[in-house]
């Protein structure tokens, strides 16, 4: 967008600014809505007693529980346990996903033989496989890491693959003309060109990774936030259960934020909006 000023010079008005201001407006609206919901919730439970507190504790009770958790060593132990599993599983999924995605996207032979199976596996409800993992790998960390890996790896593979296919053409030709072949071509051209696609897959994978971990702990675990949540629910400690869910939501969102920041830093040339379904 450009505006001609009184002196006749072109002044560039960054459309981005406008978007930012718009975003700020929505943020305030969102905060308002959340505050209103909390207020209605508090009123319904604590003041009007429409719902028994045992089923739905008021926000103040949840907040108190949350504060208690923050100083509870048992919570931090569970937190560390879950996070370690998620990080290990996710790192494995990233390494395998990017390498397999690049290979399958790059080689036409692999694309026609392996890719159909990848799509098939991607669309399989892997959650259904969770009990098998617990049976096969036991109640410890191994089964959780495997679940995290299984859930996270497919979006990473498929996005990287899509990126490698899309990139192809012109940049690869430029590489070949200037003598960049084989591994160097992969490292200097194809990998950086697909990086934004991979990161968008990693973002989706990370969201699923957390689901995998909590699910594993639910189905049979000896520690972690999911285990703690299940325990609280059995004990009918609803305030603590809700506080734990909030912790999980915060962790998941921080992860997504971290990865989208990373993507903006590592691939500033890439317009987010060009990646379908990225966010």
């Amino acid at each position: 967008m450009s505006v001609t000023s009184a002196t006749g010079t072109m002044r560039i008005v960054r459309p981005r600014r406008v978007v930012r201001r718009d975003e700020a407006k929505w943020t305030w609206l969102l905060i308002g809505v959340v505050a209103a919901i909390l207020l209605v919730w508090e009123a319904a439970v604590s003041w009007l007693h429409l719902v028994p507190e045992a089923f739905l504790p008021p926000p103040t009770a949840v907040a108190a529980s949350f504060a208690q958790l923050m100083v509870d060593p048992a919570f931090w132990q569970a937190f560390a346990y879950s996070l370690t599993n998620v990080v290990i599983g996710l790192v494995l999924a990233i390494v395998v996903g990017v390498v397999v995605g690049l290979a399958v996207g790059w080689s036409a032979a692999l694309r026609f033989t392996v890719a159909p199976f990848l799509w098939l596996l991607y669309s399989t409800p892997k959650v259904a496989l969770a009990p098998l993992f617990i049976l096969a790998l036991g109640l410890g960390s191994a089964s959780k890491i495997a679940l995290v890996f299984l859930l996270a790896v497919f979006p990473i593979i498929l996005n990287t693959m899509e990126g490698a296919v899309t990139v192809g053409g012109s940049l690869v030709n430029a590489g070949r003309v200037y003598g960049v072949n084989g591994l160097a071509l992969g490292w200097k051209v194809i990998f950086p060109a697909t990086l934004p696609y991979s990161l968008s897959g990693i973002q989706r994978g990370a969201a699923l990774a957390f689901t995998g971990e909590v699910l594993g702990e639910f189905l049979g675990g000896t520690g972690g936030l999911g285990h703690m949540l299940e325990f609280a629910a059995y004990q009918f400690e609803m305030a603590e259960a809700i506080a734990l869910v909030i912790v999980m939501v915060i962790i998941a969102n921080l992860t997504l934020l971290l990865i989208s920041t990373l993507r903006r830093r590592l691939a500033p040339w890439y317009d987010d909006r060009k990646i379908a379904g990225a966010s």
Binding site: S170, A174, R176, Y178, G179, A184, P268, W269
Partner: protein, 278 residues
């Protein structure tokens, strides 16, 4: 008198041509329709060392395809392409390409994009390459933009980065696909003269695709005119104009005017034919 000037490379050159194309055809498999599209058919062309050949033709007649075959990026369906006597099996350090769509690496700065032209050359071990890269950047008038990213440049500026990248590689053969297509008229004239001077100085062999008739005449020793459906060479014309040429010096040259009118008619006929057959 200019009409009788000897072309720089005599027609019956005793030496073997540097680029020799014989009965070249390229057909693309169009996956969507399952048909084969004949992009070019029966192309014969010899280009001698040090010759500047410009290529004119309507859009979609196969100029880029032809250049890509010489570059080693597209395999011929039939026919042969020899460079310096040996068949082309792929790209090589003797040929550099200026791409129609620039093909710059978006994650690299202007400096590093130009450096890409030297990426796999041994010179990169020493330190002299820095000066070479800087020189090439200055040659295309991008001094001061070394650390900009392609997305921060205009189309014409990006195109000039592509030119610098090809120059810095110092190939024997320069393949340029509409290298000034996105550059504004004034810069275009300056760049054209720079290219002309550089080529005359270094004696490189050039294939230069353009949509501008004036550019084709001003730069070329010979002009190859393509026709479409299927893409093929319609005619090859020796310009036979004295060098150095400038827009001003040739403006009233009868040979220039004759060539311009001739090419105008040839291309307009092609464009109309193309439009009718669509």
């Amino acid at each position: 008198m200019t009409t009788t000037t000897e072309p720089r490379v005599p027609e019956a050159s005793p030496s073997a041509p540097l680029i020799s194309v014989r009965d070249l055809s390229v057909a693309y498999d169009v996956a969507r329709t399952g048909k084969r599209l004949i992009a070019i058919e029966g192309v014969d062309l010899d280009v001698h060392e040090g010759e500047f050949v410009t290529v004119l033709g309507p859009s979609g007649c196969g100029k880029t395809t032809f250049m890509n075959v010489v570059a080693g990026l597209v395999k011929p369906s039939t026919g042969t392409v020899l460079v310096d006597g040996s068949p082309v099996t792929g790209p090589g350090p003797d040929r550099a390409v200026v791409f129609q769509d620039y093909a710059l690496l978006p994650w690299r700065t202007v400096f590093d994009n130009v450096k890409f032209g030297l990426e796999m050359q041994k010179e990169l071990r020493g330190d002299g390459w820095r000066d070479r890269v800087q020189e090439a950047i200055e040659l295309v008038g991008l001094a001061g933009f070394e650390s900009s990213y392609p997305r921060e440049l205009s189309g014409g500026m990006q195109q000039r980065v592509g030119l610098a990248r090809a120059f810095v590689a110092e190939p024997r053969i320069l393949l340029m696909d509409e290298p000034l297509g996105a550059v504004d008229a004034l810069t275009r004239e300056v760049m054209r003269d720079e290219i002309d001077k550089l080529i005359q100085k270094t004696g490189k062999t050039v294939l230069f695709i353009t949509h501008s008739i004036e550019e084709a005449i001003l730069l070329g020793d010979r002009i190859v005119v393509f026709k479409s459906h299927p893409g093929a060479i319609k005619e090859v014309i020796e310009t036979g104009l004295e060098r150095p040429r400038s827009e001003r010096s040739v403006q009233h040259d009868p040979r220039f005017l004759e060539l311009r009118d001739h090419l105008w008619d040839a291309l307009q006929g092609e464009a109309t034919a193309a439009a009718v057959s669509k």
